[in-house]
Amino acid sequence: MNRLTYSPIDPGAAIAKVRSVDAGAVVLFLGTARQSTAGRSTSSLDYEAYPEMAAKELAALEDEARRRWNLVQCAIVHRLGHVEIGEICVAIAVSSAHRQAAFEAGKWLIDEMKRTVPIWKCENWADGSSDWVHPGLSEEGTSG
């Protein structure tokens, strides 16, 4: 169950989606908008996606996670648009019979999501400038 949304993410809803009498373990990961990055103050974020492809990639990650671990349920929600500091950018919830699978799958899903899913973050700095974040591109290249 994967979703892109322009509205605030409700972590309780993500948990509710994966809880089950067959699961002994639930792991929820939340990525939240931090006030400062590498010592620099952020005032807000903006997320952009290629939505059709992001949905496909998220579904593929969920399928792969279910293949690798014996998950009971799996839910991923990613925020798009304008995000204030402290708000939730992404929620990944997984459930499994035992805790090791839930921890491993949760960690793997966020690592892979950051590597492959076509979603981009723009940092709106407190000084008024903005930068698209593109890991591996040169600093000058990403200044927007």
């Binding site: 952009e48 999501m113 076509p118 723009c122 290249g141």
Partner: protein
């Protein structure tokens, strides 16, 4: 053939548009599209070799041919999460 390419994030920002339309020979590859991007949008020339491309919402390798009418997208390094 006419190829329509969606641009995102830094690519959209520097190209100052979200959709780039270009003309390529039939059966042109992603590699040819990448070279065309460098020529037609000089602001992206230094970055284009770090971009990935997608055909019909799936990552496509450099040797892949672009089918006529395909939904093509330029994918700068992603930063979700």
């Amino acid at each position: 053939m006419i190829v329509r390419v969606r641009l995102f994030a830094i690519a959209r920002h520097l190209a100052e548009r979200g959709l780039w339309e270009t003309t390529l020979p039939d059966q042109a590859t992603i590699a040819a599209l990448r070279r065309q991007l460098e020529r037609e949008i000089p602001a992206l020339a230094g970055l284009a070799n770090r971009f990935r491309f997608a055909i019909d919402a799936r990552y496509a390798g450099d040797c892949e041919q672009i089918p006529p009418g395909a939904d093509v997208a330029c994918i700068p390094p992603v930063s979700g999460g």
